[in-house]
């Protein structure tokens, strides 16, 4: 057996290595973010200046986004937050319903159904744009509320894509919630729906949060569908609007783009930070609850 002091040094050393390795990973993870932050303070509108931090930092890019020439950004931010929030909330509820059914009821086609909703999402969707456009055009004629260039219509489309994988994740979690509580509720005369609402959902909060965040981030970054369906400055989401900043080739605005990127990311990081604890416990598929 090694003397105590030796062991403690070894453990101390081990700990330093641990922190060191983690810091390497952190640098790897955070480096591009630093780059964007630097560019956002750069007045030159180019992404290739020397060094990460500009020689003459300025707040101009930020002010142009909030009050100046690019203040349509605030509209995009609002649109995006609105759409992401609504989509994530509704999809969480829809997936929970489905997951409950898959988890608690037995019916023919259960296994096949579960597999189906996963596989169906694997269809390469880049070319599905025409189909979605035509469906939304039909809505436009007959139910303008949900038509082209409406946020409601866009949410409608997003909900379709939000079902498959998330339902599956939730089902895994529901499986781990013991049925004893629900059975007790049945004996007391509650319907399955009531137990779903008042017993299962509260217990499933962590996974609901996880799915909410996964869906939020996915919707936040989505570009193709939003750009097909939305027209006009005021309707755009962040992903589509920011493309206008650097995609047009006539007027590349890297400075405001980076600033918008920083602000946009801060929102997600904030959400993440506040819900951190729940996320990790939510991903615990088979936690022992009793």
């Amino acid at each position: 057996m090694l003397p105590m002091r030796y062991k403690m040094t070894a453990r101390y050393f081990g700990r330093i290595i641990r922190h060191g390795v983690i810091w390497v990973a952190i640098v790897f993870a955070v480096f591009p973010a630093l780059f964007i932050i630097g560019t956002s303070f750069n007045p030159a509108n180019s992404i290739n200046s020397t060094g990460i931090f500009p020689a003459k930092p300025t707040l101009d890019n930020y002010t142009s986004l909030l009050f100046g020439a690019n203040r349509v950004f605030t509209m995009w931010m609002w649109n995006t937050l609105k759409i992401c929030f609504v989509t994530s909330s509704i999809s969480v509820f829809l997936c929970a319903l489905g997951a409950y059914a898959f988890s608690r009821f037995s019916f023919s086609g259960r296994r096949a159904g579960l597999l189906m909703i996963l596989l169906v999402q694997m269809f390469p969707q880049t070319l599905g744009m025409t189909a979605i456009f035509l469906i939304m055009a039909w809505f436009n004629k007959n139910l303008p509320l949900l038509g082209l260039n409406t946020h409601a219509g866009l949410i409608f489309v997003y909900l379709g894509g939000a079902i498959g994988f998330n339902t599956w994740l939730m089902k895994g979690y529901f499986d781990s919630i013991p049925r004893s509580l629900e059975e007790a509720a049945f004996v007391d005369g509650a319907t399955p729906f009531k137990t779903f609402l008042s017993i299962v959902l509260p217990l499933a909060k962590p996974i609901l949060v996880v799915v909410f965040i996964i869906q939020f981030i996915a919707t936040y970054s989505e570009y193709m569908i939003a750009s097909t369906l939305l027209k006009g400055d005021n309707m755009y989401t962040l992903a589509v609007g920011l493309r206008l900043f650097v995609g047009q080739h006539y007027d590349d605005r890297w400075g405001p783009f980076a600033a918008a990127g920083v602000l946009g990311s801060l929102v997600i990081v904030a959400i993440f930070y506040s819900l951190q604890g729940q996320i990790v416990s939510g991903l615990t598929g088979g936690a022992v609850k009793e």
Partner: protein, 415 residues
């Protein structure tokens, strides 16, 4: 599992239950069906434009509404989105009445039946520069009404290059003096490998894309990608890269970056780059592209204008808008003010001759040739860019690469 039986209408027997349910459902469904509304766009105009042109057309629209009382709405979209979506949107009844776009969309849009041919009164037609009218025509019919033409010229940084070169040899001398890769400074750059901006160098000695008959119609089986002029031009570019005087890959973002940071002495680019340069504080001048062996470089002429949706029910309003609001000197001058490119409308162009920058571009374009507007250009661009890519990264010689490219195009078009 569930002690309570769901779905039973309390108070009725089982068989009656089914029937009643069906009836109720049918009744309520009918109620919803009857309240569905349909939308029409008759009597109003919708225009799709990109971010540069939206403010201009919003202004024209506002004036028109004041004049006539007819509502005109302008939607801002990216150029790509307009060109792509108008094809599927229009037959579905979701298209605009007018689109603002580039003349090289016309071939594809006509093939798809998306845009309608336009009739202009003879006297109005004559007020447009004939090259722009030719650019907006396809198979003998006019499909767009132009407002500006553009092309590239030589932009130079007055601090690095006090006097612009007149000949290619002078350009090379200046480039040798100024280029210093260590600090990222280059005497001469041009966007590469996408060949639009470098085409003047490729065409000066006779390079071309499609052969032309005397009346301007294109000969699709005469492909000029491997013509002697094109290969010689590509060799000049290749030489600059080999000598280390120019980077081998200059995507758009890099070119604008170098220009706006004052690290580029001369750039072949269009009027769109001027605001970018000025935003970086660079003092730019514009000159015609230097001659090569005494031959004038011939840039592509791009024409912007409006096109009419074939499915629009508002043909009369559109005709009135074009004739009485759009194709007037006042409106054309307004367009020029907000987006300064040589106007396609001759009376407006005459009034803007006092701008030296504009004159330089106009002069450069006067030697140019219109970008072919046939839908086959799509394939040509991708094959041609591939060839230029392999030339610039030194994988293939100009002769090799362009020969292969021409062969691929010949095979594709002969089907």
């Amino acid at each position: 599992m569930n002690p309570l039986k769901p779905g039973i209408i309390p108070g009725y027997r089982k068989e009656e239950n089914m029937r009643r349910k069906v009836l109720i459902v049918l009744a309520v469904s009918m109620l919803f069906l009857s309240s569905v509304i349909t939308a029409t766009v008759d009597g109003k105009l919708i225009i799709w434009a990109d971010d540069t042109r939206t403010p201009i057309f919003k202004e024209l629209a506002r004036e028109y509404t004041e004049m006539t009382g007819i509502i005109v709405t302008v939607y801002e979209m990216t150029m790509d989105a307009i060109a792509e979506q108008v094809v599927t949107a229009s037959p579905a009844g979701e298209g605009p009445d007018l689109i603002v776009g580039a003349h090289d969309w016309i071939g594809r849009l006509v093939r798809n039946g998306t845009i309608a041919s336009i009739d202009l009164p003879e006297d109005l037609l004559l007020q447009f520069d004939p090259v722009t009218i030719a650019a907006m025509s396809f198979e003998g019919k006019l499909y767009g009404v132009p407002y500006s033409r553009e092309g590239v010229a030589l932009l130079y940084n007055k601090d690095l290059v006090p006097e612009p070169p007149q000949t290619w040899d002078e350009l090379i001398d200046i480039t040798r003096e100024i280029t210093n890769p260590a600090i990222g400074q280059y005497g001469f750059i041009v966007e590469l490998p996408f060949p639009y901006n470098s085409f003047p160098v490729l065409s000066a000695l006779g390079g071309y894309i499609f052969g032309q008959r005397s009346d301007g119609t294109l000969l699709m089986d005469d492909i000029g990608l491997d013509s002697v002029g094109m290969i010689l031009g590509a060799t000049l570019i290749d030489w600059l890269i080999e000598e280390g005087l120019m980077p081998g890959e200059i995507p758009w973002e890099t070119m604008t970056g170098l220009l706006s940071e004052g690290k580029a002495g001369m750039v072949i680019t269009g009027p769109w780059s001027i605001p970018i340069a000025e935003s970086g504080g660079v003092n730019v001048g514009v000159a015609p592209i230097p001659t090569i062996c005494g031959q004038r470089p011939r840039p592509f002429v791009g024409v912007s204008g409006i096109m009419v949706n074939a499915y629009s029910p508002n043909k009369a309003i559109i005709q009135d808008f074009i004739e009485n609001q759009y194709a007037t000197k006042e409106s054309m001058l307004k367009i020029f003010e907000m987006d300064p490119r040589p106007s396609a409308f001759i009376p407006a162009f005459e009034e803007t001759r006092d701008d030296p920058v504009m004159n330089a571009f106009a002069e450069s374009i006067s030697f140019g040739m219109p970008l072919p507007n046939v839908p086959e250009m799509n394939t040509v661009w991708s094959v041609w860019t591939d060839a230029m890519t392999l030339i610039c990264n030194q994988t293939l010689s100009p002769h090799e690469a362009l020969r292969q490219a021409a062969k691929v195009l010949e095979d594709t078009f002969s089907n």
